[in-house]
Amino acid sequence: MSNPIIWYVEDDELSREVMQTLLTRGLGYTSVTVFESSSAFELKLDALSIIPDVIFLDIHMEPIDGFTMLNLIRQRSKYDLTRVVALTASVMNEEVKKLKDAGFNGVIAKPLNYETFPNALRHILDKEDIWYVK
């Protein structure tokens, strides 16, 4: 997949900038959309006609957190083939377990690792779940 459609929901501005720069200027992807807040994203869930290949979700967001967001996405069948991956700074064992149980397709830890991230993304797009964080 040379140019996957990637969405990223994140309320921290710097994190958004890092991700966007990494994906576009670092990896050269062009179909990258970032959403400033979960509420803004929720409004567009039904409106957007494009189906992304992967959605990265921040977990600790207000007012709608990552888990609720995942449910909202999974309730809509048009996103059935979309991979939803958590992007979080909380990567303790029990939290990873919660993510797994909730139905995420994987987790990527913050801070992002420039060296390992491309490989992880490739696994995600190959429909593999990735739970190895750090």
Partner: protein, 615 residues
């Protein structure tokens, strides 16, 4: 005894003790009763035997006197002494026979003046004693004697009296001797046929005549009746002429007590070659004594049972029942129910126990409540702490994300050309940032471990070789083009493990990273193999090695060796965390090394893990 009864109910124990006391009392009473009745029997027996001796002796004296009267009657008869004077055997015999029809004497002997026998109603084998008596009579003396004679092989003992036969003018015409045999019949007459009294005639250590009806059962000539034999000493004493009354009781067959006496036969003083043994059987007293004893035992046993019943009922109501109730409540308390209380009905020890028990139950219940509260508080605090740790981790990692990656972007030229010096500087920023990130991770880990809140995410089916390979991939990045070969010697047939995959990877990554960091050139050999019930992983490097004196300190928190401090940007927490994580898997982590010759770290993980799966 206490040990013997340790498994028995209190009621049984008490009943047994009471029974024991009562049995001892009964035995005492029976003994006392027996002693007393024996004393009484002795007194009564003593009186009976004394009376009996007097009766027998006076009867004997009567018989003796009767013989004298008889003989005087005979010698005073004119026709008799005339017939003797004529030495007319026929007439003398006729007179004697006629007289004896009423006198019923056993033996009458008449001699003339020349000591020639005119009449002898019973001719004995040995007549010497008879003759001696007759000779004394011929000399003019009337005398009484005990004659011992033999007739048809049998010894025959008689009471005999001899008198001279004197004419009216005083001439001695002859002599007469009359006697009565002391036979069984004679002795029976003496007792008037009464039961319980038996007489025996003893001569020369043998019973010659006796009144015991069952003569066939006598097994020894010493035994008179009921298995009682005479005793020689008393017989000797009686033979010397005096009556002997035994003061003590003699037990016959079947335990029946007897009293006994020996008496000489003739009333005149002097020795008596034969004596009469008197035996009084105290049968009536004995049966009275037995009946009394039996009644006592029956009444006592009945009273004992009654007393036992009363004691048992009392003990059951006042002790056993309340104690059982207490036991039941204690059981319910053991199972976690603290609401029930024991009833306090009395103020005795049992009541006090119940009261004390209730107080204890109150205290325990109170303590349970406060323990529960403390536990809940501790759990809340633990939760708060976990949340705090998670939050700290999150809050520190978010800005680091920007620092590390934005630095990286500048460094790799995303925002425009950078010169070598700038790259170098940015590299330092990146390295420091990553170091800070590692520190955050490790501090969080160690604080979790120290607080005991480390939770393993336990799964089955872990492949240790895959974990090693992934860690090697990551660790390789630290080699920085150093001339090092990483050699894997992994046993492909290892069993699947149970454990926390992420934590196992953390352990492997830490050890492999250390090897990569500290080795400048040569080999890093990583092996996996099975040893007994453990999977072992060894990481052997050709680095500087570790002095044995630091082999334990390197596993302590913030204790790196000098080489370690100089060499790495480590946190000093990697090995302590790895060791704790290994131990959390019930495994071991240790090092084998000498300074200058590389180091080998070993990790062992048990094949059959005791860890519980995380649901």
């Amino acid at each position: 005894m206490n040990r013997l009864f340790s498994n028995v109910s209190l009621g049984v124990k008490l009943n047994f003790l009471v029974l024991l006391v009562l049995v001892i009392l009964l035995v005492g009473i029976v003994l006392l009763l027996k002693q007393n009745t024996q004393n009484l029997t002795e007194v009564i027996g003593g009186q009976r035997i004394t009376e009996e001796v007097n009766i027998i002796r006076s009867r004997l004296a009567e018989i003796e006197d009767g013989l004298v009267v008889n003989i005087n009657f005979l010698v005073s008869s004119v026709s008799f002494f005339q017939a003797v004077g004529r030495r007319d055997q026929v007439e003398t015999k006729e007179i004697i026979t006629r007289a004896n029809a009423s006198l019923k004497l056993d033996d009458i002997t008449v001699v003339d003046g020349d000591d020639k026998r005119l009449v002898d109603t019973q001719v004995d084998e040995d007549q010497s004693e008879e003759n001696a008596l007759l000779r004394r009579a011929l000399a003019g003396d009337e005398s009484t004697a005990l004659l011992i004679e033999k007739n048809a092989g049998q010894i025959e003992i008689s009471i005999a009296v001899a008198a001279p036969i004197v004419s009216s003018n005083g001439n001695v015409l002859g002599a007469i001797q009359i006697g009565r045999h002391i036979s069984d019949r004679f002795l029976e007459d003496l007792t008037f046929g009464r039961e319980n009294i038996n007489l025996g005639l003893i001569y020369q250590d043998k019973i010659q005549a006796q009144t015991f009806p069952d003569r066939q059962s006598i097994i020894s000539s010493h035994i008179l009746s009921n298995g009682i034999a005479f005793d020689d000493a008393s017989v000797k004493l009686a033979e010397s002429g005096q009556s002997v009354i035994l003061t003590h009781l003699i037990e016959g067959d079947g335990g029946v007590p007897h009293t006994m006496a020996y008496t000489p036969i003739l009333s005149a003083a002097g020795s008596s070659p034969a004596v009469i043994m008197i035996l009084v059987e105290l049968k009536d007293i004995f049966s009275f004594q037995n009946v009394t004893l039996l009644n006592t035992i029956i009444i006592f046993a009945a009273l004992t049972l009654f007393a036992l019943a009363i004691i048992y009922i009392n003990i059951y109501q006042t002790m056993i029942q309340p104690l059982n109730k207490l036991k039941t409540i204690a059981h319910t308390m053991t199972s976690g129910q603290y609401d029930e209380r024991a009833p306090v009905d009395t103020k005795d020890e049992v009541g006090q126990l119940a009261k004390a028990f209730n107080e204890m139950a109150n205290a325990i219940q109170q303590r349970e409540i406060s323990l529960q509260a403390a536990r809940e508080q501790a759990e809340r605090a633990d939760k708060v702490k976990s949340m705090f740790l998670a939050s700290v981790s999150h809050e520190l990692r978010t800005p680091l994300n920007a620092i590390i990656n934005l630095t990286k972007f500048v460094m790799i030229g995303i925002y425009g050309t950078v010169n070598a010096e700038q790259v170098d500087t940015l590299n330092k920023v990146e390295r420091s940032s990553k170091h800070l990130l590692n520190l955050i991770n490790d501090v969080l880990d160690i604080s979790k471990i120290e607080s005991g809140s480390l939770e393993l995410f336990v799964e089955d089916g872990l492949k240790i070789n895959d974990i090693i390979r992934l860690a090697v991939e990551t660790g390789k990045g630290l080699l920085m083009n150093k001339p090092i070969d990483i050699v894997l010697e992994l046993d492909p047939d290892l069993p699947l493990l149970r454990g926390d995959e992420q934590r196992m990877r953390q352990i492997m990554l830490n050890l492999i990273s250390n090897a990569c960091k500290f080795t400048e050139e040569g080999q890093i050999v990583i092996k996996s193999y099975r040893q007994n019930q453990e999977i072992l992983v060894s990481i052997c490097d050709s680095g500087p090695g570790i002095d044995p004196k630091y082999h334990e300190t390197i596993f302590e928190v913030f204790r790196q060796t000098k080489v370690g401090l100089r060499k790495s940007e480590g946190t000093g927490l990697g090995l302590p965390i790895s060791r704790r994580l290994t131990e959390a898997h019930h495994g071991r982590l240790w090092v084998n090394s000498t300074s200058g010759e590389g180091a080998t770290f070993y990790v062992s993980i048990p094949v059959n893990s005791r860890l519980e799966l995380t649901v």
